[in-house]
């Protein structure tokens, strides 16, 4: 498979000499054709800067970028944005308020190579139909709602049939319900037309549900890259585990570490955990526990990995109950069934299956938290 986008040792520094900020440290990505690739991370992690370097809106300090086999940035070349074969959707829509819906979408065709009027009209209509906006073609852009403006902006990005689609947090300005709906449509459209897509977001749900692959970024570096499943179920460090899902952590020491079994001794008891080749017996480690993998009960069970705690906070959220449970000296987040709700002060027992106990080496975790600082 040839690369759709290839980013090689990208580094981006801004600010004046003596007062510079490194926004992207050393990022290399190889994104396949027609992939839906997500850059996920908290604000300031360098994901947007990376995207803007791909678009040519920022110039990297060093490193190179290829779009569809064509070098657009290297030590010798800097292809200006307008010559790059891209379409881009911005967080704040960036719909031109002085133009109609039609003119907004037609713009990329009009500034590019000359097309016949009828052809422009035809392609604008196609693009608008693709995003279900056909009936708004004669409206003024300012008469549209937020969701409609974002569809318009997507149509504009797709109208000249670029090789690469860049999405800079396109859903984050929409309200929750609309966001969910657009999420589905975005993926459908991307699959239907088949286009290499880079999606920037800080929302783990968007990232997990849309992407073919995810690169989690922190402090200007990629800290883990993999499929949504990998990222969620096998976080390779505490940052990823914490950022992707509201994970609780318990420190301990590995006592048994074989290819068949991994046991970790903690101050709330011993845990049988999912095996991990990187762990040796005697290593100090951290166990990552997802709230939804914990089972909350009111009396001791003989299930594996059970431990007791006292409910500190209990929030009914409709389909479940969110708990903060005091276990030893730390708070553990758990999600319980909505049918019974334990009140604060109640004594509960929690259990978790060994396959849901992900063990992270503490060394990696320390490095990540150091990079965060």
């Amino acid at each position: 498979m040839t690369s759709g986008i290839k980013v090689d040792h990208l580094r981006h520094v801004y600010g004046n000499p003596g007062n510079e900020v490194v926004s992207v440290h050393d990022v290399s990505l190889d994104i396949g054709k027609n992939e839906f690739f997500t850059l996920l991370g908290p604000s300031g992690c360098g994901k947007t800067t990376t995207l803007r370097c791909i678009a040519g809106l920022e110039q990297p300090t060093s490193g190179s970028i290829e779009l569809d086999g064509v070098v657009v940035v290297s030590d010798r070349i800097a292809v200006p944005t307008f010559r790059r074969d891209i379409g881009m959707v911005f967080q704040d829509y960036a719909v031109w308020p002085h133009m109609s819906v039609f003119d907004n979408v037609a713009f990329p065709l009009r500034v590019g190579k000359k097309l016949r009027r009828s052809e422009i009209a035809e392609r604008v209509e196609q693009a608008l139909d693709l995003v279900n906006m056909g009936q708004y073609i004669d409206r003024r852009a300012t008469q549209l709602s937020g969701g409609q403006q974002q569809r318009l902006s997507l149509a504009r990005a797709l109208v000249r049939q670029p090789k690469v689609l860049l999405l800079d947090e396109p859903l984050s300005n929409l309200d929750a319900k609309l966001r969910e709906q657009m999420r589905g449509e975005l993926r459908l459209i991307q699959q239907r037309i088949g286009i290499t897509t880079v999606f920037v977001t800080h929302d783990q749900v968007e990232a997990l549900s849309l992407s073919t692959r995810i690169a989690v970024m922190n402090g200007g570096r990629v800290v883990q890259e993999g499929t949504p499943r990998d990222i969620y179920l096998q976080p390779s460090n505490e940052f990823v585990a914490d950022f992707v899902g509201a994970t609780s952590f318990i420190e301990g020491t590995a006592t048994v570490a074989t290819p068949e079994a991994l046991t970790v001794e903690t101050n709330v008891g011993a845990f049988a955990c999912a095996t991990n080749d990187a762990i040796r017996a005697g290593d100090s480690v951290t166990i990552a526990l997802r709230p939804e993998s914990l089972v909350v009960a009111d009396e001791p069970t003989d299930a594996e990995n059970s431990f007791a705690g006292i409910v500190e906070l209990s929030l009914f959220v409709g389909d479940s109950v969110d708990y903060r449970v005091q276990v030893g000296d730390r708070l553990v987040r758990a999600r319980g069934s909505a049918r019974t709700q334990f009140q604060p002060g109640a004594r509960v027992t929690m259990s978790v299956s060994a396959s849901d106990c992900v063990v992270l080496p503490s060394r990696v975790t320390d490095e990540i938290s150091a990079a965060n600082r």
Binding site: P80, I86, G87, H98
Partner: protein, 592 residues
Amino acid sequence: MTTDIRLPPTAPATAHQPVATPPRRRRGRPRIGTIVVLIVLAYLVIGPILMLLLSSFEDTSGGVVVRPPFPWTLQNFVTVLTTSKTLSVLGATLVFAVACLIVGFVISFALAWVVERTDVPLPGFIYVLVVAPAGMPGVISAIAWSLLMNPTNGFLNVLIRAVTGSTAEGPLNAYSLGGMIFVQGIALVPLTFLLITASLRNMSPNLEDAARASGARPWTVMRRVSLPLLTPVLIGALVYQFVTVIEGVDIPLVLGLPGRVTVFSTQVYLTTHSAFGLPNYGVSSTYGILLLVLAVAPLLIYNRVVRRSQDYATVSGKAFRPTRRKLGRWRWVTFAAIMVYVFISFVLPLLVLLYASLQPFVGAFTLASLSRLTFSGYASTFSSSLFWSSLGHTVIIGFVASFAVMAFSVALSWIIVRSKSKLAWIADVLAFIPHAIPGIVIGLAVLLIYLLIPAQVYGTVWIIVIAMVTQYISLGTRLTTGGIAQIQVGLEEAARTSGARGWQVWRSVLLPLLRPAIINGFMLVFLATIKNLTLPLMLQSSDNVVLSTLIWNDWNDGKVTETAVLSVVLTAVTVVASILLRRFSGSGEELK
């Protein structure tokens, strides 16, 4: 503005970075357009200051013009700093400026508070009437007040004497420091009022409500919350108006000259255009430099305040209704008091000009004089070719200067706000400096430059255009910078990612979106150039007379009726235009 590659400034390669990186691509290479704009502006802005410095160190006694080989001397500074005249001029300038600011700001703040925070009747009506005098040129209001309050036959004095039976001169005297302060102080009100009401209006109601909810009494809310929040705007307005007061020649010339009160601006004018003997450009440059220093000091403070003003960002997008104080039975009393103020500050000067323009000669105001009303003044003015040529010059200067100012402003603002060019700070400085140069100093410096350079500019309307561009580039840039800052960067970037080249981004996105700001700025600068007396007077020749200088010349020659006719005509134009401008643009926030 058509080059495509823009690169941010970057650091030199660090140790663990590949050294092979050729530095050329990574540097912010300035574009040709940026460099051209900056060079032209540097010439317009820095040129005058250098010329002023140069000529202050030249021996120019006996009317000598600054010329190579530039004999250096400290004589001008010795002359200026050792005469007692300088000290009295400095004293008069400071007293004049401070007193004007107090008068202007106290009136403006009271009016603004009443209009925005009480239930006074007809606030919209009051607003329009308080702001309307903004259109009246300073020279005209000075002339009107001279007609009303000159000690010999000012109408008000005649009236008071008729009542009291006194036969002495006075009792009111426009030709005094007090008279100047009164007229200039009132002239400051419209703009100051606009600035204060705008920020009172923009202040988030939550901030005041929160104080109220915390148990603060209305007076405490005002003292501990509202006033501190207004501080940046108030200081900004104070400094701006300070420069306005010390830079103009209009009121000091009309009222100060007969009363033998000299301030720096008139001193610069008189040493350049000496009625007796030859001009001494070196000495006037030295006075100009002193005036420049006087203006720059508070501006440095202003700049710091503006930089800090983000701490005070209180603008909320929401429309809101602040709690208005109930005035009770004082409601209509307050209204009546404001109407009296409006009558005195605006209606009375207009009436007196109108009356004078309809009289064959100006005498005491009696019933008999009302029967002598005649339009002959208007007839002779409209048949004079000097009137039409002055009108033509005024219009040409207004259009060309406003167009040039807005073109430069848009370019400068874009460099400041959007380009990541290394030269952006230069654009920022160039746009700010003219704000610090008093108009009279710009006039003097431009005069000196074209006395030295043998370009065919001296004595034409173009020298006035050049000076006007220098003077108003700060105003224009402030408007366009605000305009460009309001356009989300995304709109520009969306055009670029859609495949638009530099010029296509300008033509189809930036300029259309900037149009309101550009039109607004154009009208504002146009109005300001029409009202300006200082620059055309400093640069006057027989071939470039404009309406404002024509008014002053006629007044100086004692042609009262002609002066009054011209004043009525010009005021009608500028007042109507400025009211239309407010309608069009909303408010005067641009001067913040």
